[in-house]
């Protein structure tokens, strides 16, 4: 009976011994030269927050889903987003005015709960709710995780017939939360001649009049 699998070939122990020494020396040498060559290369680190050519936010891919923001001047309070959200992190409350118009009571998004799946932004028919490319959102108390978008009482729900143009993404969040653009202000370009100003100084002057869109 011939065994199907041939017995393993045992290497000559003496040859194996010196082969091991040779391999140890040569592989160490090889590895040392490789790591040595890395000392002459430029590191690929992006020096967030303040030593980048441009803010990291602008380096993110188009499809990146950052913090949610809603343009209340385009929001019809249809509640589609709140119903679509698997976690229920969007809470919208409205109340009726005597003259028939509706008024926002709350429009809160709980960033702490949000899982950034993008279903709500997909469901929004009027491009009011959208993901920005903001990611700098750490806070020091749990209450601050909730972003309250209703900035003043008496903010009316928009009518689907006449909607103002969408404000630039990120501008609403930046206006809403003064401390938010903190890291952005620190992100100055390393060499001045390329770009005129670091960024449109979001939050530096405080919220720039949200009433204008109502």
């Amino acid at each position: 009976m011939v065994p199907a699998v041939p017995p393993p070939v045992r290497p000559n122990p003496v040859r194996a011994y010196f082969g091991n020494i040779r391999r140890a020396v040569s592989s160490t040498f090889e590895g040392m030269t490789v790591t040595m060559s890395w000392l002459f290369r430029r590191p690929s680190t992006i020096q967030y927050p303040d030593r980048t050519e441009k803010p990291v936010r602008e380096m993110l891919p188009e499809t990146y889903r950052g913090l949610l923001e809603v343009d209340l001047s385009r929001c019809t309070a249809c509640l589609l987003c709140a119903k679509t959200c698997p976690l229920g992190c969007i809470s919208i409350e409205t109340c009726k005015h005597p003259d028939g118009a509706r008024e926002f009571q709350t429009f809160d998004i709980d960033n702490g709960l949000c899982m950034f799946c993008g279903l709500c932004a997909e469901a929004c028919n009027f491009d009011a709710l959208a993901h920005t490319r903001e990611f700098e959102a750490s806070v020091s108390s749990a209450e601050q995780l909730t972003v309250r978008f209703v900035d003043r009482p008496g903010r009316l729900v928009a009518k689907a017939k006449d909607l103002p143009p969408r404000r630039p993404r990120g501008s609403i969040l930046a206006a809403l939360i003064p401390g938010f653009g903190r890291r952005r202000r620190r992100a100055a370009p390393p060499e001045p001649p390329a770009s005129p100003a670091p960024a449109p100084a979001a939050g530096a002057e405080g919220p720039e009049n949200p009433e204008g869109t109502a």
């Binding site: 040392m32 030269t33 290369r41 590191p43 992006i46 020096q47 380096m59």
Partner: protein, 423 residues
């Protein structure tokens, strides 16, 4: 005469205007001078060990294509200071289950064992704290104190991780003591003395006078010693006592704050010590090319100081270069398994280092020093050393160029993140 006695005598003569031989307070002045010397050595250790940690982190960063600490002070040079102050102000914990005396005493032993090695390190011509006539034996003995400290830390913590870290480190350190002692035996054979200054004096300033290039066996013994020294310093690839993947943090797992810092401190300083031992035992130490030690001793005044400074610089450069090699090895090679570690020592390093002792001994008996065969051997070994340097430089250049081609290919691609940085 010892340099410390020199300084003390100088002080007594110039400040107290007394004769050192008959003055009753000579011993006190000497003790004070020794204390100052010890403090200077400590300052050297502190000032060296700190920046070495920063340099290591920067080099590690570059090898891993990142930057490393660069925020604290210019380019992050004060990183070690921030770490030190923070650790100093951190709470000091002693586990309730620990063996309290052992736990508290371990950092002392580790630090003292490390620091004691500085006594016999020859920093420059005539500059050594104590030129013991049993210098090498003393070095081997006093560095073993670190093992005791680590074992005490591991056992005293009463933690399973720490225990295994401690006994592993003990097994590893005592095992690698054997090949390192054998390799240093080769040096002693050639130098004919155990004193560290004597070993340096037996070599010369030029590379062909160094022990490493004396004959092929010494060349191999250097690498054997260097490997064993890395293992004795608990450095990767032999850092099993603190292998995070297996035993969390090893022997120092229960230590916090300053006590932990002393372990780190000893580790960094140990790199320096093993680099310094390799430098003075194999690479000619502080010897200045073209100048004999007697000529330096004969000079006076500022000329003497100048030669001293030059010899210091040469020694420090050699040792620092070896420190750099140790750091680079750490970030190049993966960690060994515990059985591989023991096999490496007992089946490879120990027999090979015995062979080197035998080879050096036979060559010493057969090849007369200064003869034709000796010159040929030295020339061949210097050529071999140059060849190693040259080949590695060429390999580095080739690796660099091959990768640059890859980078060039990536350069035109439309990537959402910044393209690869060209080397």
């Amino acid at each position: 005469m010892n340099i410390i006695q020199h300084v003390a005598n100088l002080l007594i003569r110039s400040v107290f205007h007394a004769d050192p031989a008959s003055w009753p307070w000579t011993w006190l002045v000497q003790a004070v001078v020794i204390g100052i010397a010890a403090f200077l050595a400590f300052a050297f250790v502190a000032i060296f060990a700190g920046p070495v940690s920063w340099i290591e982190r920067r080099i590690a960063g570059r090898i891993q294509s990142r930057i490393g600490p660069n925020r604290v002070g210019p380019q992050g040079v004060l990183q070690w200071l921030a770490d030190g102050v923070k650790c100093w102000l951190k709470e000091d914990l002693v586990p309730a289950a620990a063996d309290r005396p052992l736990f508290l005493a371990a950092p002392y032993l580790v630090f003292t064992g490390m620091f004691g090695a500085f006594v016999v390190l020859p920093f420059g011509a005539q500059v050594v704290a104590a030129d013991l006539n049993v210098g090498i034996l003393y070095l081997l003995a006093i560095t073993s104190l670190v093992v005791v400290g680590l074992l005490m830390a591991g056992w005293g913590s009463n933690s399973k991780w720490a225990l295994f870290g401690g006994v592993r480190s003990a097994a590893q350190l005592v095992s690698y003591e054997v090949p390192s002692a054998f390799s240093l035996l080769c040096v002693v054979l050639l130098a004919g003395t155990l004193s560290t200054q004597g070993i340096v004096a037996a070599q010369g300033g030029w590379p062909w006078d160094w022990f490493i290039f004396r004959n092929p066996f010494m060349f191999a013994a250097f690498f054997l010693y260097f490997t064993a020294a890395i293992a004795e310093g608990n450095r990767t690839p032999f850092d099993l006592p603190e292998a995070e993947s297996e035993i969390v943090a090893g022997y120092n797992i229960e230590y916090s704050g300053m006590r932990f810092l002393f372990f780190l401190f000893a580790e960094w300083a140990n790199i320096w010590i093993m680099a310094a031992i390799s430098a003075f035992a194999f690479l000619g130490g502080w010897q200045i090319p073209g100048i004999a030690p007697e000529q330096i001793a004969a000079t006076k005044g500022w000329e003497f100081v100048g030669w001293q400074a030059l010899s210091w610089t040469i020694f420090l450069v050699k040792a620092t270069f070896l420190v750099f090699v140790v750091i680079q090895i750490r970030w190049t090679l993966p960690r060994l398994r515990v059985d591989q570690l023991m096999i490496t020592c007992w089946k490879y390093l120990v027999p090979l280092s015995m062979l080197m002792v035998l080879g050096v001994l036979v060559l010493l008996a057969l090849v007369p020093e200064g003869g034709g065969a000796d010159t040929i051997l030295r020339g061949a070994m210097v050529g071999l050393g140059l060849a190693v340097v040259l080949v590695s430089a060429l390999r580095v250049r080739r690796t660099f160029r091959v990768d640059r081609e890859h980078y060039r290919e990536m350069e035109g691609r439309d990537l959402w993140y910044p393209p690869y940085r060209l080397p």
